[in-house]
């Protein structure tokens, strides 16, 4: 495995210092994590990056590609409502073929679990990432923000048919499908999908599942697997409904495209988004107000406003992040190799078995990248 170039101890200490001041409990987590769990939480896109190991007769394990999942697991197993954890250790990612990237690298980071003010916690964690990365001595750093949840609030403002709104929100993290959806709007009626006829049309509410079973019987279909008949019944109706209702209008598609193109200083970006919004701005206004507070708190914590960028389309390809996310980048390193990164993942604790809703946000810095004398 390729190692990183070493970071001088003094530089490492400077990069580590902001984390020590964060009042977080040091935590150690296993290098080896269950492969099935990592894939289930991060998705198949992660598989080519994982080093997989297996003891004879044991389950497949992967070397931790980062600390977020292991630390979240440790927190949930401890059964506490809130927690702040700092970690430092090696993480492992297989480099794509032909890439000279280090495959074994040092990460220092923090994960915060709790149900306090999310804007406050986001700002604290992003400022931590900024200060730590900046301590490496690079003077060209920029911090780029995105917000997956903000897209949802923007879509809500357009007051679309509910099924269409749900679909659009889902497609945010599937750029190719979203592009196809927007293109359909331009083509208008010519691109309407074929009318789908629900075979259970007219079956009264509550009798769907039994009607479906009868239909299976008539067609000689033996059901396999555990998908609930109710879900199939519901989706048949939704598909029929979707094929009747119009897709995005040209104006709505233009607004969505405009949203995705927004990129610039955070407050200017928020004004631009507000200007593009539709009539139902209630949840969007709340989200935009959250950003005003976030930016103010970031400035308060020492992140220069002129180094912040908000890019609306950023964050479309990240496994479990579902809210604000950010990367600290340097033009010398390139956008593909952030010196620090992090974000909010409120949905993850529940999927790991947390008994109740739990806010979660974290960040990590890669010292070998943050260090100004480093090449990786």
């Amino acid at each position: 495995m390729r190692l990183e170039p070493p970071v001088p101890l003094a530089a490492l200490a400077a990069i580590r210092a902001p984390f020590a001041e964060a009042g977080a409990a040091p935590v150690e987590v296993p290098v080896l994590q269950p492969l099935a769990l990592l894939l289930d939480l991060s998705g198949e896109a992660m598989r080519p990056r994982l080093f997989v190991v297996q003891a004879e007769g044991g389950e497949e394990l992967a070397m931790r590609p980062d600390f977020t999942i292991p630390v979240a697991r440790a927190h949930i197993e401890a059964g506490k409502p809130e927690g702040r954890y700092a970690y430092e250790g090696k993480a492992f990612r297989a480099a794509p073929e032909g890439s000279a990237r280090a495959e074994e690298f040092l990460q220092i980071g923090v994960e915060i679990f709790g149900n306090g003010d999310p804007a406050e916690a986001d700002a604290e964690v992003a400022a931590l990432a900024w200060r730590s990365a900046a301590a490496g001595g690079r003077d060209d750093l920029q911090i780029t923000f995105g917000d997956i949840a903000l897209f949802g609030a923007f879509v809500d403002s357009l007051a679309l048919a509910p099924a269409l709104a749900v679909r659009l929100k889902r497609l945010f993290t599937r750029p190719r499908l979203l592009a196809a959806e927007l293109e359909r709007a331009d083509l208008g009626d010519a691109a309407r999908p074929e009318r789908f006829v629900n075979p259970l049309e007219g079956v009264p509410e509550g009798h769907g599942a039994s009607a479906l079973r009868q239909l299976w019987g008539i067609a000689g279909i033996e059901p396999v697997g555990t998908r609930p008949p109710d879900e199939i019944v519901r989706r048949l109706a939704e598909r029929a409904e979707a094929s009747r209702t119009p897709s995005l209008s040209v104006e709505e598609a233009r607004a969505v495209r405009g949203y995705l193109a927004v990129s610039g200083a955070p407050m200017a970006a928020m004004y631009a988004i507000k200007a593009l919004a539709g009539p139902a701005t209630e949840s969007l206004d709340t989200a935009l107000a959250g950003w005003s507070r976030r930016v103010a708190k970031l400035v308060e914590r020492g992140v220069p406003e002129d180094r912040m960028t908000f890019a609306a389309a950023f964050g479309r390809a990240f496994g479990y992040y579902d809210g604000v996310l950010f990367e600290v980048r340097s033009p010398v390193l390139g956008d593909e190799r952030p010196a620090a990164a992090g974000g909010r993942y409120d949905g993850l604790p529940a999927r790991l078995g947390a008994p109740s809703a739990l806010g979660a946000v974290g960040c990590m810095v890669r010292p070998a990248r943050a260090f100004a004398g480093g090449v990786e």
Partner: protein
Amino acid sequence: MSAQLILAIPSKGRLKEQVEDWLADAGLPISAPSGGRGYTARIEALPQVEVRLLSASDIAGALESGEVHLGVTGEDLLRERMVDLDSRVELLRACGFGRADLIVAVPKSWLDVDSMADLEEVAHLHLVRTGRRLRAATKYIVQTRTFFAKHGITDYRIVESGGATEGAPASGAAEIIVDITTTGATLAANHLKIVSDGVILKSQARLAASLAADWDAGRLAVVRQLLGLVEARARAKGSVMLVWPAEQDEGARKALAGLVAGGARPRANGLLLAERDLLAAQAALASAGIGPVAATRPEHLFEPVSVAAETLATRVTA
């Protein structure tokens, strides 16, 4: 003596028989050397060729590493082994056998799922309902990942399957499968249906050359001979040669002018034409009073240059 060219062929099963029949039919029968333990063989007509018998999936690996120069195996296995197949091997020829489709299949009882777009939505519903990703059982991990990404499906995960993949939905090991099918009978028996736009690859056996292997002029010359024969045999199969009496040549040519314009090739007192045109040619000749006309099938139909062999030569000498 010049260096050997190594040709890998499947060591067992139906595919082995088909490859052997295919080579024998082209005039390149394989003979096992006396005392050999069955892992190597020779082609008498091409003494520079060493035939190595490997498992179909090992052939893909040997082509990738350059251990063998040529190999015949399924395209599905080649594509699974090498994401960037086209930069690692040159596909010289589709063999026309070993046909199988790599497909995405879901339970027939999912009446709401016809297309990959439906599957994308159902995978998301599954994640929302269960907190877990929809599982796809397969041994074709690389191609599944690429295909699902192309269709924007992200809320799924792969469960590696060693065998009997089609049983995974019934056994509860996975919700859907990605597998090879030839007739679809096994899918039907397991209450599964193919997603309409879920055909990942229409596979068949391929003769492929490794770009990582050690090539030289001598070996390339052998490839030209081998490919020349195989291509000539395939070309011959669709062709018929007509020969008429020399004194009737002028009338015959006049009668068949239309076919010549359509691509049939004149020969001395005769014509080489596609088999499908045979009846039309015979009718034209009969109405012109030409006869007797002999129709024979050529064994081989050689062209001076094999385009596939020259493409390989260019790529490995560049």
